[in-house]
Each structure stands twice: as C-alpha cells, then as structure tokens.
C-alpha cells in the first residue's frame, strides 16, 4: 500500500493544486503539461500527449458518438424537484437553478434516439458538470424510460455513465432509483435486448451498483475511476489510502469486471461492431 501522501487519483489529488488560469489553457492531470484547450477539444477531449481522457459533457458525448444531427432528444422537459426541502451550504433548489443556468440542462442526464454509424439506438449520457452526474428522480426516470423504450422498440441501449452515485439531496428517493433502473434493465434483458454500458471517469456509488454494472457488454474509458466506495469514502470510513491504479478501468479489467477498455476515438466503431455481433 502506497502511503506517501503524494498519490494522486484523478480528480481526487491529495496534493495542493497549483493555480491554472481556466480558459485558453488547461493543465493535463495525466502528464502535467499545459495544453491549449482547443487542441484538447478537437481531440475528443483527450490529451494529445499522454492520452488522458478528460471528462466531457453529456452533449459533447452524444455529439461524438452519434452520426451528425441524428440524435433526437427525449424527455428534455423533465425537471427535478426539491422533494425533501434539502439545504446544506446552499439550498438544493438554488443549486439546481444555478446549474441549469450554467449547463443548459434540466438535470444530469441527456437521453434520446440516435444513430451510430447508421445503426439506430437509444442513447443516454450522464453529465459530470451537473452535480457530478448524480442520480436523483429525474436521472432514474430517464434511464428507466430509456430501457423501456429500448425494450419496446427493440433497439440497442447504450448508456454512458459518468457519475458520483446516488444524489444525497433527494435522500431515499435517489436510493430507490437504483432498484428502479435495475428492474427496467432486467426487463430489457428478459426481452432479449442489448445493453452496452460505457463507463467514463468517474463511475461510482449508486450508479455503479445499479444499471452501469448490468450491461451485456461493459466498456470503459482508459484510466476511468470505477468503484462502489470512492477513494474519499474509503478514506473517511476506514482510513486507508489506496494503492496507485486501484479502482481504475485497467484494474477492473484485470479483475474481470469489464469487457474492454476503449479509447474515446474507437468508441463509435466498437459500439457499432458489438451491435452487429449481437444481431441488433
């Protein structure tokens, strides 16, 4: 167990970060180089030097995966509610309003029908910029409907997960979404449908412990953190620091929990090929 305090998990670095002016340039957590932001964007959000996969928004993800202009969004008018009247350092209502303004999304998921290399499918992507892609009632409902649509229309289902887990601000309602989405995926499987689960950095907690781990085929992006209890949770509860590489996509592959690691630029063609093999 490495215990030198300098271990850095992507996004959970224990080191004090040096300030970097946001905008034109960004620092790559992989190679520590300063890179021109536009270069990263043109490269699908991947560092051209070290192939570090940056987190990308749900809309970027869909744009990258789907054939041009083929995506038809569904349930874009679903809004979260503050069922518990939850307030921590900020009221949940306010937090939602701010993020809705900032991201242009209503909640942390975008879902719809689209085509990947000419193959029709149901696609959902979680957004790391909206409360870390956490699953509350809206995410749960949209993922559930995605699975139901895929079952009904006999289309493959692709969900790109990128999430901190169940959303605390919706309490046990969020917890219930785990059972709800898993049950819907169960029905899809029963009907012989295909579900390709793509795990991006990070996929953790209640999302990993529900639909994300229930794919017929599970793909992950290089270096993605995939876990049940995240490094911070483990630290808080049992005070153990994780060895380097623990819970990374490569680690999960080695332990038999995912099918393959796919570079972002290969994702489209892998998905298309898997759909072909499964005869969907």
């Amino acid at each position: 167990m490495s215990n030198n305090g300098s271990t850095s998990w992507d996004g959970y670095s224990l080191k004090k970060k040096r300030e970097v002016p946001e905008g034109l340039w960004r620092r790559c957590p992989g190679c520590e180089d300063m890179i021109f932001t536009r270069t990263v964007e043109e490269n699908l959000g991947v560092c051209p030097e070290c192939r570090h996969h940056f987190r990308i928004s749900a809309r970027q993800r869909i744009k990258q995966l789907c054939d041009q202009d083929s995506f038809e969004e569904q349930m874009a008018d679903y809004f979260p509610v503050d069922a518990l009247n939850f307030t921590d350092s900020q009221a949940y209502k306010q937090r939602l309003r701010n993020l809705q303004k900032k991201t242009g999304l209503t909640d942390a998921v975008v879902m719809g029908k689209g085509f990947v290399k000419g193959r029709p499918l149901i696609l959902a992507a979680l957004d790391p910029n909206f409360m870390m892609g956490s699953m509350g009632s809206v995410v749960g409902e949209k993922i559930t409907v995605a699975a139901e649509l895929a079952t009904e229309l006999q289309l493959p289902l692709v969900i790109v997960s990128c999430s901190g887990g169940a959303r605390m601000q919706e309490g046990a309602l969020s917890l219930a979404q785990m059972a709800k989405t898993s049950a819907a995926v169960g029905r899809l499987h029963e009907a012989g449908g295909l579900f390709i689960s793509v795990l991006a950095d990070p996929t953790s907690g209640g999302v990993t412990a529900s639909f994300a781990m229930l794919g017929d085929v599970i793909l992950a992006e290089p270096g993605a953190l995939i876990c049940f209890a995240g490094p911070r949770t483990i630290w808080h509860t049992i005070k153990v620091e994780l060895p380097a590489g623990f819970q990374k996509a490569e680690f999960l592959l080695e332990h038999g929990f995912i099918d393959m690691i796919v570079h972002r630029k290969e994702l489209r063609s892998q998905i298309a090929r898997i759909i072909d093999y499964c005869g969907k």
Binding site: D77, Y78, F79, P80, V81, A83, L84, F86, D88, S89, S137, V138, G140, E141, T144, A166, R167, M168, E170, G171, A172, L173, S174, L175, A176, Q177, M178, A179, K180, S182, A183, A184, V185, G186, R187, H189, E190, G205, G206, T208, A209, S210, F211, M213, L214, I226, C227, F228, A229, R232, T233, I234, H236, T237, I238, V240, F246, Q247, H255, F257
Partner: protein
C-alpha cells in the same frame, strides 16, 4: 420449537442500566426513583404502591412524549441502540426450526449476511438478513453487519434456491452500509449489489423486506428489493449515513444531526414519499424496551403479508412489483406539475393483467 425465553437482551428491562441514550435521561431518573421506592418498601415494609403507581404512569406518559417527538438523529440513535433486537434475536424468538445455509459457492461465507430455511408462524420461508452481532467478538466476526460482495452473492444464490422451490423470501435489513474496503472493491461490491437489484426485481416468489434497524444505502438495498418494503417505526433508511453526508456536504462529520434531519430518513417521512409502504409499530419507548412485543409485531406483519402475496398469480406479482419500484420518484414535466410520489398501495391492491402497460407519466 426454538421459541425460547432465555433472550439475551431481556436485560432491556433491567432498570437504571447504562444503556440510556442522552435524550432518555429523564426516563432514567424516573426509573431509578421507582427502584428506590421499591427498595424502601421492601426494606421498611411500608406500602408505597400508590406512589409507585403514580410514578409508573408518569413514566409511561414521559416515554411516549419523548418517543413521539424524536428528532431524526435521535431516531438513528435508537436504531443503533446496543440493546435493540438484532437479526439473531428475531431468529431465536420468531423463527421456528431455522436451518442456516452457508456460502456463495464461489469465494466464501460472509458472516454479515445470514441465509436459511425456517418457519414464521406456519409459513415456510427463506430468510435473508444482515447480522450485526451483540458481543464484541460477534461484531468483529460479522464485520458489524457490513457485507462483502460474497454476502450479496450468497443471498442471491439462496434466493434463487427459494425461487426454484417456491418458498416466499423474507429479507430483514439492518446494516450501516455495504463494506467500503479494498477487498470488497476488488471483488466487485458494486457489481454484486447491482445484480441483486436486477434479479430480486424478477424473482418468481413473493419477497417481503423489512428494515429492522439501520437501512444503510446500497448495502441495505442489496437485499431490499421486493413486493413489500416495510420499516420498523424507529428504524431508518437512507441513501448515505448521516455522518458520511455531513462529511461531504457540511465538510464536518460532527454535523451528522443536521444531515440526518435533512435526509428525511425516518419511517414516517419515507412513508410519505412512497419509499416504504408500511410502518411496523414498535413498543412504547422503542424495540429495545420490549423485544418480545417488537418481535410479535414483526411476526404479525410478515405472516399477514406473505398470506396476502400468496394469493397473486406469479405474473401479476412480478408486474405489480415492477410498477411499485417504477413509481417511486418525484419530478415535474415542464410547467405541468406531475409530481409522482406514488402510494404503492393503490398500485398493488388490484392485481393487473400481465399485458397491462404502465400509465404514461403525463397527467
């Protein structure tokens, strides 16, 4: 017959022990006064019974006053009370002829989850439950009720066994959470729980779940998907522990009482949002004050529910289970408010045809 009365926690009735929670101090005082008077009565042969009766009636009033107004955090304390009945107590007091079944046939036998055949009343069931342990040795042995992946896999394997031989399944939930350790992560804690959620939603036998103490997030849900989901009056069920939530959102674990309040994790709040569909009443002052009554209440609920669920055709049972799971959640659609806190009762009372489709969400 294993219905014994040599219940290790019958000590719950012992007066003036050190098992009082902070907010129970006034009760401790009254109880010690009663004890003193009794001692005096015995020693001096004077009849203090009217005074004792008065004090006893005060005690009842005060207990019900305190317990009717528990804060969320105080409820969490009751759910974690060292003398609260735990799975092993329910096993010895409620289950007849319990035959434990071990192992996940793959990695090991997780002592944090107990599975086995037994009878509740006249109903033969498969029981699955979290085991917490009473003594320090037991607690360590079963990891304080925090299961590893092999525990969840064992649970599923035995539930499949019950499905094969058409036995109803009873799940008794009492865990702070699934174990957040390196070995658990390495062996796929998330995957194990995910598979349980999916498979339990489709089991072709009645599944009755009850939170008897702590309902700690995914660890609770991993054996908590069924046709009925009930909670004991002073148990809690939450997406994250109050301490964990406080550490993340308030940046201070000591703010747990605030987090507990905010998470709305107590039984009546959960019932209001349709997360649980029934509250099992506890004896005056909590299950730890009268374990036999708590056991009786749970037993009554289980027998009644199993008998009721047996009446459904299996297809209807599964369709209703799906509808129930599916109906939980609150959101709005554009301007039209269609908040759907769903009373599961309405959905489950009427058996539906297997072909029935869910209602569209738009009102």
């Amino acid at each position: 017959m294993t219905r014994t009365d040599d219940f290790s926690v019958a000590v719950a009735n012992e007066p003036n022990g050190n098992g009082y929670l902070d907010f129970e101090k006034p009760l401790a005082n009254l109880e010690s006064q009663i004890a003193e008077l009794r001692a005096l009565q015995a020693a001096k042969g004077i009849d203090y019974s009217p005074e004792i009766r008065q004090l006893r009636s005060n005690l009842v009033k005060l207990t019900s006053k305190i317990y009717n107004n528990l804060s969320a955090w105080e409820t969490v304390q009751v759910a974690r009370h060292p003398r609260r009945p735990i799975l092993t107590d329910y096993l010895s007091l409620m289950m007849k002829d319990f035959r434990e079944l071990h192992g996940d046939r793959c990695f090991g036998d997780d002592r944090a989850i107990v599975t086995g055949f037994g009878r509740i009343g006249r109903e033969k069931v498969l029981l699955v439950g979290h085991r917490k342990g009473r003594t320090t040795k037991e607690k360590v042995e079963c990891n304080f009720g925090c299961a590893h992946p092999e525990g969840y896999r064992k649970a599923l394997l035995k539930m499949k066994l019950a499905e094969k031989f058409r036995l109803p399944i009873v799940c008794l939930i009492d865990t702070p959470g699934a174990y957040p350790g390196l070995d658990a992560e390495e062996r796929g804690q998330a995957q194990a729980i995910a598979v349980n959620l999916m498979e339990m939603s489709r089991l072709r036998v009645p599944v009755v779940c009850v939170v008897i103490g702590e309902g700690g997030s995914g660890g609770a849900l991993g054996i908590g998907v069924g046709d009925r989901f009930a909670i004991m009056q002073f148990a809690y069920y939450s997406v994250i522990s109050p301490e964990g939530c406080a550490a993340i959102l308030w940046k201070d674990g000591a703010e747990a009482p605030k987090a507990a309040e905010a998470l709305k994790l107590v039984s009546k709040d959960l019932l209001k949002r349709g997360v649980v569909d029934h509250i099992i009443p506890e004896p005056l002052g909590g299950a730890h004050r009268n374990p036999h009554e708590a056991v009786h209440n749970l037993e009554t609920h289980l027998i009644k529910t199993i008998r009721e669920l047996r009446r459904y055709k299996i297809e209807n049972l599964i369709e209703n289970r799906y509808r129930k799971l599916r109906s939980i959640g609150e959101f709005t659609i554009a301007e039209k408010t269609t908040s759907r806190t769903v009373r599961t009762a309405a959905a489950v009372e009427t058996p539906v045809k297997p072909t029935a489709r869910r209602k569209t969400t738009k009102a």
